[in-house]
């Protein structure tokens, strides 16, 4: 890809980016969210067209009008959010859009046979006749890779493929990817996890704010080098944490059960307590009941059994408002859906829970003067980058929206914080900031339950780490002594031996 330029209204997403990948190589593409990695790759896959610049494959300039052009040129893409039809079987997903050997009729048996052969070769174990929604996330990813291989892809783009995997699954994936590279495939590996880039790639290209920082041989780089190139300044990879001084029990979850969206038990017999002045991390692979647990704790989902106690008060069936009144704050997992109202302004979002009482309103009338002053204070205190307080929230970056939510929640001086995926999709700079704020809360005696799928985040912040698998607690370990291996085993369903 030579001199790629892509503009969106108001944003220069790629500014003169050049990038090359060779057969048999794993080339990492590193950059923060919004650095232009995905935009660059979407052009390679025919989803967008570059405003200028050229895409050259096997020595020939190409113009892709749609993904099918890219597929024909041998490009395959494993999207971060899987592109699978969940109601169809593995074989149907693979065969979709391809001509059949039997004309108009489907030839799923033959497709299944070829899937098995490919799966065998690359260690991608999966049953071709299984329906996709029944598969684990790791298996679904294998289906995505098989889809690309089945179409004869010689160049494979993997967009943050390890984000949804346990450390062990990620290791298995790396074995597969190395095998594919050894077979002469060219691989582009998009990530913002430095250790993975170092472990897997031959070369690494760093992007920042849509521009190329440079391409480097991986062996010559260290973690700190990569972090500096990616963010543009020195980054602390570890936090100074004074030892925890846990106080009394603030949040107690006792034998909790709840039913998920599919009608099956999502959280089963879950017991955990969080004390004042400590951060308890809840680790687990996506979809193991974390979301449902957070929903029960914030009053958005009904528990079927068990009890929740907040500051000594039974809140098992309390509404969100009652929990807020009892001193709990929540940073929701899906910030655009449950964290903010995206068409509302920064100012309106800042008072979403407090608009109903003084000093923000008097007898149902909003006091805009006080609200504006309060919002300005939050914007300043939490370094929220926004043109004005009246800007609709949807125009802010993910990191700034998250900071706004944090500001709104933490300024109420909560005694308990439920933080679900607080830095998902947030750039390193903002993540660092959010982490500091959470540690500040810890120092001031707040009890924090940190629910995250990012094991690095959990390990950096937590005093104790709990692991959830299929809705059950696999164990609680001391963060200081826990290893990635032992946590990985628990995340895959092995109960911790006490």
């Amino acid at each position: 890809m030579v001199d790629i330029v892509k503009r969106f209204p108001g944003v220069l997403a790629n500014d003169g980016v050049s990038f090359d990948v060779r057969a048999g190589e794993v080339h990492a593409l590193l950059g923060e969210n919004g650095a232009g990695k995905s935009t660059l790759m979407r052009q390679l896959y025919g989803l967008y067209r570059p405003d200028s610049g050229q895409i050259i494959i096997d020595g020939q300039p190409r113009v892709f009008h749609s993904p099918s052009d890219a597929i024909k040129a041998g490009v395959g893409m494993i999207h971060q959010h899987f592109m699978l039809v969940s109601s169809l079987t593995v074989a149907e997903n693979v065969a979709l859009g391809l001509p059949s050997s039997r004309g108009a009729r489907l030839d799923l048996d033959r497709v299944a046979e070829r899937i098995r052969a490919l799966a065998e070769r690359y260690g991608l174990k999966v049953d071709p006749s299984a329906v996709v929604w029944q598969l684990s996330v790791g298996e679904q990813q294998r289906v995505e890779i098989l889809k690309a291989l089945y179409r004869g892809a010689s160049l494979l783009v993997l967009d943050e493929p390890t984000a949804v995997l346990t450390p062990q699954e990620a290791e298995e994936l790396f074995v597969t990817l190395r095998q594919m590279a050894a077979d002469g495939h060219a691989l582009i590996f998009i990530s913002h996890k430095l250790h993975e880039v170092l472990a897997l790639s031959n070369r690494v290209t760093v992007l920042r704010d849509g521009r190329m920082v440079g391409t480097y041989p991986t062996t010559e780089m260290t973690r700190a080098d990569l972090a500096r190139l990616m963010v543009g300044r020195e980054v602390l990879l570890q936090y100074d944490r004074p030892p925890a001084k846990p106080g009394e029990e603030r949040l107690k979850i006792d034998g909790l059960w709840t039913v998920g969206d599919r009608g099956t038990d999502a959280v089963r017999d879950f017991t955990l307590s969080v004390r004042a002045g400590e951060i308890v991390g809840l680790a687990g692979v996506s979809g193991n009941g974390q979301r449902e647990l957070a929903e029960v704790l914030t009053g958005l989902r009904k528990p079927s059994k068990g009890a929740v106690t907040l500051n000594g008060k039974d809140v098992t069936h309390a509404s969100p408002a009652e929990r807020i009144a009892a001193g709990q704050c929540a940073i929701p997992e899906e910030r655009m859906r449950t964290g903010v109202i995206k068409d509302f302004s920064v100012l309106e979002n800042a008072i979403l829970c407090d608009h109903g009482h003084a000093p923000y309103s008097h007898q149902t009338l909003l006091d805009f003067k006080t609200i504006a002053a309060h919002t300005q204070q939050l914007i300043a205190d939490y370094a929220v980058k926004t043109p004005t307080a009246d800007t609709p929230v949807k125009n802010l970056s993910g990191g700034n929206i998250q900071k706004l939510i944090l500001a709104r929640e933490l300024c109420r001086k909560p005694t308990v914080v439920i933080a679900a995926q607080p830095t998902r999709g947030v750039d390193i700079g903002a993540s660092e900031y959010i982490h500091h704020r959470l540690l500040e809360q810890r120092a001031s005696g707040t009890a924090t339950l940190l629910i995250s799928e990012d094991l690095d985040e959990i390990r950096a912040l937590s005093d104790r780490i709990a692991v959830i698998f299929e809705g059950r607690l696999m164990g609680v370990v001391d963060a200081a002594t826990a290893t990635a291996e032992s946590l990985g085993l628990m995340m895959a369903g092995t109960r911790h031996a006490d």
Partner: protein
């Protein structure tokens, strides 16, 4: 009440039930195909009216029933194309645009009826075809295998639609586009083409459904003669879980209730006829309340697709 359950009446109900299922089958199978691709077309009723008018008018003028049927199919497909343009290209809200299409069909067919025909005319429609051997089955043979060609074709449509959806590459694309258009798009399937095609085919069958009324079952055309059957057809798609065989089950249930209702009136049984006439509609509401499993619904139903949106 007992006079309703005599053998001749029950056989009569069987005969009418099969006949009356015909328009439901065409319209609901067509609608199911459209919905499996992700487009809700609420305009079925309006398309049926236009189809019924076109079929009758052409057949009446040319005295050729097949030309009438062809005209209905063409008019139906054209109205389907219109719906596709509005909902796929312009990405309008499907429920509302469908109601618009219905009102358009209702108004235009009434206007054309008044200006081109003046009053109610009648023709002799498709004649019953007696299928040898099968029709000789004692008792029920005559009721089941002595119908017009359009009735047989309607029932034949069920396995054909099932096979297209589940056994062909086109069917796989239809199902994928209705469930996860972004995934289909990423594999080079044209979401737009598939949706255009299926909404047009659905419209064509709605047109034929109308024709089955005006030139095979009732053999006349009058204002608003479909009387809500197009809307019931949409309900049948939900009732049948978006599957052709399910739709068949629903269509038969409704047509038999309707047949029963007719015989109640004919036999002058001691149930107010207003109540009897209400039965199919009441059943629609009950069926939709209790029988629909949302999990079978195509996940992208009523959602316009735009590349690059998550």
């Amino acid at each position: 009440m007992s006079e309703l359950f005599t053998l001749p009446v029950l056989l009569g109900i069987l005969y009418s039930g099969i006949r009356l299922a015909t328009p439901y089958l065409y319209a609901a199978i067509g609608e199911a195909l459209s919905q499996r691709a992700g487009v809700l077309n609420l305009g079925v009723e309006g398309i049926m009216l236009m189809g019924a008018y076109a079929a009758f008018f052409v057949a009446w003028r040319t005295e050729n029933l097949w030309l009438g049927l062809g005209a209905a199919a063409l008019v139906g497909a054209a109205m389907g194309l219109m719906m596709a343009y509005i909902s796929v290209t312009l990405r309008a809200v499907q429920g509302i645009s469908g109601i618009g299409l219905h009102l358009f069909g209702l108004g235009l067919s009434t206007l054309l009826f008044k200006t081109t025909m003046g009053g109610v005319q009648s023709i002799s429609g498709f004649k019953p075809i007696r299928i040898p051997i099968l029709a000789d089955i004692p008792l029920i043979g005559e009721q089941m295998f002595n119908h017009s060609i359009l009735v047989y074709l309607a029932f034949l449509l069920v396995p054909v639609a099932h096979w297209v959806l589940n056994g062909t590459t086109l069917g796989l694309k239809i199902r994928a586009v209705g469930q996860n258009p972004a995934a289909a798009d990423s594999l080079g399937v044209s979401v737009m083409k598939i949706r255009y095609l299926m909404v047009s085919v659905g419209g064509m069958f709605a047109g034929i459904a109308g024709a089955s009324l005006s030139i095979a079952l009732i053999n006349l055309f009058q204002e608003n003669m479909t009387n809500g059957q197009g809307f019931i057809a949409v309900a049948l798609v939900y009732f049948g879980g978006w599957k052709p065989w399910g739709v068949l089950g629903g269509a038969l249930l409704f047509s038999f209730v309707q047949a029963l209702q007719l015989w109640i009136q004919v036999k002058d049984i001691n149930i107010p006829s207003d109540i009897a006439v209400m039965m199919p509609y009441l059943l629609t509401i009950l069926a939709l309340t209790f029988a629909v499993r949302r999990s079978d619904q195509p996940a992208a139903l009523t959602k316009p697709f735009e590349r690059g949106e998550a």
